[in-house]
Amino acid sequence: MNIIITKKDLERIDLCLNKMVSSARAHSALLIDRSGQLITHHGNTPGIDVLSLSALTAANFGATAEIARILGEEEFTLLFHKGKTENVYFSAIGEHVILVTLFDDNTSLGLIRLQINKIIDELSGILSSIFEKRKAPVN
């Protein structure tokens, strides 16, 4: 399946990500698709290889989905990795897209989760309209 994203769609997504990054005090957010392609990213990501991060995130999600399946779950919809200073929070949005939020000690996991939950519906709405209306033919 192919995705077509117009500038208008992208602006709406960026607005959402911007809102989330500033209200949660995260330093950046990335939106990627499940095959590992970066759709857009927002915030401060100097020195971060966002393309590799996208590919690895999709793989990470795929691997944990298999773990979920073994445990009799359909999927784990969120993943959290904690480092010494950097943390990353992954949330599935629908079946095609993953939101990656990067944050440090300037904020808390609780605030991040709260703000993500707030924007997830809005983002889902935008994304489902993209998938519904602009599905490209497979072949």
């Binding site: 795929g62 691997a63 602009r134 497979v138």
Partner: protein, 222 residues
Amino acid sequence: MILLWLPLWGGEHIMPFINFSKDEIQCKIVYYGPGFCGKTTNLQYVYGQTNEEIKGKMVSIDTKGDRTLFFDFLSLNLGKIRGFDIRVQLYTVPGQVHYDATRKLVLKGVDGVVFVGDSLKVQRKKNIESLINLAKNLAEKGISVRSIPLVMQYNKRDLDGTDSEILPIDIMEKDLNSMLKVPSFPASALKGNGVFETLREISKLVVKDVSRKIMVLDKQFR
């Protein structure tokens, strides 16, 4: 999966194809083949020979014994074609039979495949099994191996004339390409022969396929 950023598309005015400038197309190309056939070596050669400005970092998730555990990943910017920035993401899959679940994951959203065949005579059966496995895994995603952009590479040709017994090209063609009839290249990923020829051909086929899809979409949106 292909992502397009079309600034002028989606509003009341549907612009003709030629006006979709300054946009980006991302394509996913997967190197497939049996274990130890040289998929990672292909990517390593491309990475080593490519200009810093057009490549990203190469990511490898492998085991200590040089075997790919999950995948290798390399992003390349191929420049502009018809006004679109073309970025290809190259992936490899783990070749061993028992990593089939991982191969299926990596194939998600694939736009083109390079099948790397191992020229060693002892690997003849494994090549065929891996190609059948590719066809099966693509079919599960609703993709036919006959319709997806596909290129064959017969790797390890540098072993010709050494003690290792290798398969003649025509045997490999018969085994792997008699039905598909896709472009094929003899190669030595280790020395670099045929590596860029393969990459160029698959990129060409993928971009052609993408262009065709854009044309179809353009007509649909009119």
